[in-house]
Symmetry: C2
Subunit: 122 residues, 2 copies
DNA sequence: TGCTGATATGCAGGCGGATCGATGCTGCTG
DNA sequence: CAGCAGCATCGATCCGCCTGCATATCAGCA
């Protein structure tokens, strides 16, 4: 239940740092990117992020997406398992919200030796 | 022949800025991310980037990947059409190299209202 | 010109995934 | 305690894509 993202933030991998990445690292990173590489899921992230409290339930998302409720639940599940969304059930509703800085983590994984490193800049 | 990436860098879209993104923008961004979301292609980018001159020909890439030559050419084609790689044919060989800051552009697209912007920090 | 080697393209098999309708599950509510 | 509403899961269908084999294309060379 490691939410994909968390499983690979430890060994700071990056496809563009120095050494060629290992096959296993490539597969894990590709897995998370696969979760992002879908129009419906990108729009879901966008909709949830721009929602009132930064959260939204399934019933608020089906209409703007134009997809059926099972399909929306399916996409939310994938995003959650990828570590990009978190789910909180309140009563009958399931509220989804972005995992703080989760996407920024992916952006950092893709960003090469940028000026500022995570530990020391010099 | 706009190399996908270039086609969407103009209207600075971001799934996590403020407004929900449009369907068309989501599809374009998803298209580029799809090119990245594959283990073989991530390793290709990594291998090319870490190669001597930052470039490599197909024959140098088939062995480390463990894939057939047609398959490698296929992946290189996808990465090139996505705007991540550029191809230069010298003699019989086709040398592939990273498009400068192409991946950084994707990372920026994913990165929300970061503190310092690209233009003005204040 | 004919041959050899490096790439690209066509074709086809097989797997994964996006989608929906139907159904099951679970808290409200009357 | 029924009944209902919000979500998740299941089963099935359809489509796209990763991969390899076979073949075409092109550049250098004898």
């Amino acid at each position: 239940m490691g939410t994909a993202l968390a499983e690979m933030t430890m060994p700071q991998i990056s496809p563009l740092n120095g050494e060629p990445i290992e096959r296993a690292d490539a597969e894990r990173l590709a897995g998370v990117l696969k979760a992002l590489a879908d129009p419906a899921r990108l729009r879901l992230l966008s909709l949830i992020q721009s929602a009132p409290e930064g959260e939204a339930c399934v019933c608020d998302l089906t209409a703007p997406l134009g997809l059926s409720q099972p399909t929306v639940s399916h996409h939310l599940r994938i995003l959650t398992e990828a570590g990009l969304l978190q789910r909180e059930k309140r009563g009958v509703w399931a509220y989804y919200s972005l995992v703080p800085s989760a996407i920024a983590t992916i952006a950092d994984l893709l960003t090469p030796p940028r000026k500022r490193a995570t530990k020391k800049a010099r």
